[in-house]
């Protein structure tokens, strides 16, 4: 019996050899994170999903260039950020729209749903007002748990710039969310 490969690097090596099943496993592992990141760049969920798909297709094309000695996630995130920026460049003339509500919100009770909708809207607006790099920096740092150094590598900026971006983004988000923080006390 053949033991399935477990690490991303092993799956990437199999995928690079043409194993679509291994590539499918890589996609499944990274899809939630990649979709979050493309949604951090693009406000329209359909555009974000297009960018995420483009990212995986580009990943398949460039798998031969992936260095298995380095972590796969940040390499893929770099591709995803570029794919999302490409989509944004293509649709620059279109106005920015707020993110669509999620299923969890729709399934909550009426009061809770209203409160969460308000919180969501505030977070949505606050995120939309952030410069793209700050938005990515805070999402990668606080939501995805990457270090400043890793984020600097992914975004191609200095580590100090990432620290500053995270700081400014957090401050803006905390100001926007402060009323809800008060309510929850």
């Amino acid at each position: 019996m053949r033991i399935a490969p477990v690490t991303d690097a092993e799956l990437a090596a199999e995928a690079a050899a043409g194993n679509a099943e291994a590539f499918g496993q890589l996609i499944e592992r990274h899809t939630p994170q990649i979709r979050r990141i493309t949604r951090a760049v693009l406000s329209e969920p359909a555009d974000a999903d297009d960018a995420a798909q483009e990212a995986f297709l580009a990943c398949w094309r460039y798998l031969g260039r992936y260095d298995p000695a380095r972590p796969f996630g940040p390499w893929l995130i770099r591709i995803a950020v570029n794919a999302a920026r490409d989509v944004r460049r293509r649709q620059r003339s279109r106005p920015t729209e707020p993110l669509a509500p999620d299923l969890a919100l729709q399934q909550a009770g009426p009061d809770r749903r209203a409160a969460r909708a308000e919180l969501r809207e505030s977070l949505n607006l606050a995120l939309a007002e952030l410069p793209e790099r700050q938005r990515l920096a805070v999402v990668l740092f606080d939501a995805e748990g990457y270090s400043h150094r890793e984020i600097a590598g992914m975004l191609g900026v200095a580590e100090g710039t990432v620290r500053s971006d995270v700081f400014h983004a957090r401050r803006a988000l905390r100001v926007a969310l402060a009323p809800y923080q008060e309510e929850s006390r």
């Binding site: 974000a48 969890a104 919180l119």
Partner: protein
């Protein structure tokens, strides 16, 4: 959420959770299938392109081969006809000798 601090090196779990909930797409089912289908479609279309090129190449090679064969045959026929029309040097010498 804690007070903002520029020297804070640790992720903020509350803000992180809010952001994750906000940005997580409603459903991931079918996403992998769609990507793999697009990948398959691209590879198929790539093979189609190669196939078209191959078919065109084979057709061009056949035409060239036929043209070359036709040209070679025409040259050979012309040479044969020329040989039949012109007397050989020996024949010419023999006829000249007999006249004398």
């Amino acid at each position: 959420m804690t007070t903002p601090n520029p020297f804070d090196h640790a992720p903020d779990p509350v803000l992180g959770q809010l952001l994750r909930a906000h940005l997580t797409a409603p459903e991931d089912t079918g996403f992998t299938t769609r990507v793999l289908a697009r990948l398959g479609a691209r590879e198929d279309s790539g093979l189609d392109v190669l196939g078209r090129w191959a078919r065109t190449g084979i057709a061009a090679a056949l035409v060239l081969a036929m043209a070359a064969a036709f040209a070679a045959r025409a040259t050979a026929m012309t040479a044969g006809a020329d040989e039949g029309l012109l007397p050989s040097a020996e024949t010419a010498l023999a006829s000249a000798t007999s006249v004398r």
